[in-house]
Amino acid sequence: TQLLEQSPQFLSIQEGENLTVYCNSSSVFSSLQWYRQEPGEGPVLLVTVVTGGEVKKLKRLTFQFGDARKDSSLHITAAQTGDTGLYLCNPDRGSTLGRLYFGRGTQLTVWP
């Protein structure tokens, strides 16, 4: 279940900086989702990536699924304080029961 590695575990940056967080594994995934969790709330879906090499953009957030579908990255351009939160990856290994496990997450803090 801990075949997923998210890095870095913590990231603290100033507003306006760029950053990248990673989700890595030795397993091949059918698809992968990224969630963001704000303090006191449940996680909320940001994106689902399905195809190897796929790139999806959501405003200042760029998500990439590795060519071999074993890893993914999330890049944020010009971070804002509203980007603060816990970023979690959640892969699907293709079983009939789907996505059961999350990475431990990257806690991002963006300072004004």
């Binding site: 449940g42 996680p43 879906l45 399905v50 059961l100 496990y101 999350f102």
Partner: protein, 113 residues
């Protein structure tokens, strides 16, 4: 917002007492999950359900049991609470387990003294 509610939202109890957390959904989704979240551990799966009376264990199921007698309700029970079960518990639902979106409740904070 997805129709998913957890109760109670906050509970303080003593070691050895039974505790039941309830997850209620109005979406008629087949799949339901209970996670616990602790600092440094992310979300860890306790139990999940893929239909009425169909449940299975997750990675941290020891000390927990679940029941799902109706589509809309998924109950998590701690038969005899321990301090190590102090945590924030999240319920999640989805209509499709592979690429469908997981919708989460707002969490239930449990403190075991």
């Amino acid at each position: 917002d997805a129709g998913i509610t957890q109760s109670p939202r906050h509970k303080v109890t003593e070691t050895g007492t039974p505790v039941t957390l309830r997850c209620h959904q109005t979406e008629n989704h087949r799949y339901m999950y209970w996670y616990r979240q602790d600092p440094g551990h992310g979300l860890r799966l306790i139990h999940y359900s893929y239909g009425v009376k169909d449940t299975d264990k997750g990675e941290v199921s020891d000390g927990y049991s679940v029941s799902r007698s109706k589509t809309e309700d998924f109950l998590l029970t701690l038969e005899s609470a321990t301090s190590s079960q102090t945590s924030v518990y999240f319920c999640a639902i989805t209509a499709e387990p592979n690429t469908g979106e997981l919708f989460f409740g707002e969490g239930s904070r449990l403190t075991v003294l």
